[in-house]
């Protein structure tokens, strides 16, 4: 019973802290959004990612680095305290979230591997200047230019895209994909999805993921456009041409999940207009990426965690609070 109570308390704390922190992160973003409008998309995407992954990360850190030690240090083994039904239910919901997240990560990994293997079967390699990932040409009814995979990303380009785009437009489109690789966007997407699964799709902080999707796409556009105004225009032209190739009412045969960029009312239009705006700017006047907030946030969390763990008074306080919670849940 001693161990079961510890597990139930940790899981319940994980769920409660994650839900609270996710709701708080949504509020923080609403307050910050108008102030970060002047940032470049990469900075906004980083901030959004930090805001969305911090809640589950902080909740896990607090639950397992604070609740568990406090319980082990201050809870007598022979207290004879049992697990109430309410606490057990909370723990079960939390466990379901953790299992769902783990299950989805495993299935997503398998689906990605299967898709890459399927495409590789009929793919021809081609060389891309400056590319750090292998590139392949495939035959596909959808105008695919996509990076697949997290650990070993591969670039796939449909033959029809080669035919439709001018060489400089193709280079700009490939630079856009390189932006996704540099930003590790596939890995981030998997983490964001897992965070959502852990909360069993409760609508807490979900808008942050949607915002991140949009900003990460804009960030990849800005990465490609950083080469100069001509590159920004080439990418804008490539996006328009590729969009025209998409058969009406269709989506990729493989559900591309997170990057449904044209899904919004003004997806393509917003991106092209942003690229035109970038083309008008000279290199010197462009805003710079601000990665400081995300780094500062992570450092603050780490410092706070270390501070908490090194003070026995905090562990004692945590244990007292746990006792109160257990009594309330009886």
């Amino acid at each position: 019973m001693y161990a079961l109570l510890c597990i139930c308390l940790s899981l319940s704390a994980l769920l409660a802290l994650n839900a609270l922190a996710s709701a708080l992160a949504g509020v923080v973003w609403r307050a910050l959004a108008p102030r970060v409008q002047g940032w470049d998309a990469r900075g906004r995407a980083r901030l959004l990612f930090a805001l969305r992954v911090s809640p589950p990360g902080a909740a896990a850190a607090l639950a397992f680095a604070l609740i568990v030690p406090a319980y082990l240090l201050y809870e007598p083994q022979d207290s004879g305290e049992g697990v109430s039904v309410k606490l057990l239910m909370l723990a079960c919901v939390a466990a379901a979230g953790v299992l769902l997240a783990a299950w989805r990560v495993a299935r997503t990994w398998l689906a990605t591997r299967r898709l890459a293997r399927d495409w590789l079967r009929h793919a021809e390699p081609f060389a891309v200047e400056g590319a750090r990932v292998p590139a392949f040409r495939i035959r596909h009814s959808f105008p695919v230019i996509a990076v697949i995979g997290v650990l070993r990303p591969r670039l796939f380009v449909a033959a029809q895209v080669f035919e439709a785009l001018a060489p400089e437009e193709l280079a700009a489109a490939l630079a856009h994909e390189r932006g996704h690789v540099e930003g590790r966007d596939n890995l981030k997407r998997a983490l964001l999805q897992a965070g959502e699964d852990a909360l069993l799709h409760a609508p807490l902080g979900r808008s942050l993921r949607r915002e991140w999707q949009r900003e990460s796409e804009m960030a990849a556009d800005e990465f490609a456009a950083a080469a100069g105004p001509a590159s920004a225009l080439d990418l804008a032209a490539a996006i328009v041409k590729i969009s025209k190739l998409i058969p009406r009412g269709s989506r990729p045969t493989l559900p591309a999940g997170a990057h449904l960029l044209g899904d919004g009312e003004d997806g393509t239009s917003r991106r092209v207009r942003n690229l035109l705006r970038l083309a008008s700017q000279t290199k010197g006047t462009r805003s710079h990426t601000r990665s400081t907030p995300a780094a500062v946030l992570c450092l603050c969390l780490l410092a706070a965690g270390t501070l908490l763990l090194t003070r026995p008074a905090v562990l004692k306080l945590t244990h007292d609070a746990m006792e109160q919670v257990v009594a309330q849940l009886r």
């Binding site: 689906a111 997407r189 591309a256 092209v272």
Partner: protein, 146 residues
Amino acid sequence: MKVPQFRLFGFRRPREVVGSALGKLEKTVMEEVWRRGRVSASDIYRAFGERTAYTTWMTTLDRLFKKGLLAREKDGRAYVYSPRVSREEFERGVAEDVLGDLLGRSGGAEPLLACIVDAVSEHDRALLDELQRLVEEKRRELGEGE
């Protein structure tokens, strides 16, 4: 023994979901079209009396046609509507959508891939020519500036 009916907050029974896929008037019209096979707006107007305006029935039929639930053909100056899906197909379709959405959200696995353009909304599609013109214009503008 009567089976107790209960519902969790925020969740609906499958029958309710199917029922709520259409509005009240749409449901009335679909029931009548499934019963008769072929109807015009005036048939519906006559069948349900004058409580609802003729134009409202016309709009409802048009909306169902646009949703792909009815087919229509010209008969003189009026349209005659017939069902494109049977009641069973419709109920099965809604149930599949609901299940698919549920499974898609909670357990569906999507490959991790970043695509330059995944889908284009109708709004964007209508603007593509205009966007292309803007790109060309900007190209000319920058070319002249150099």
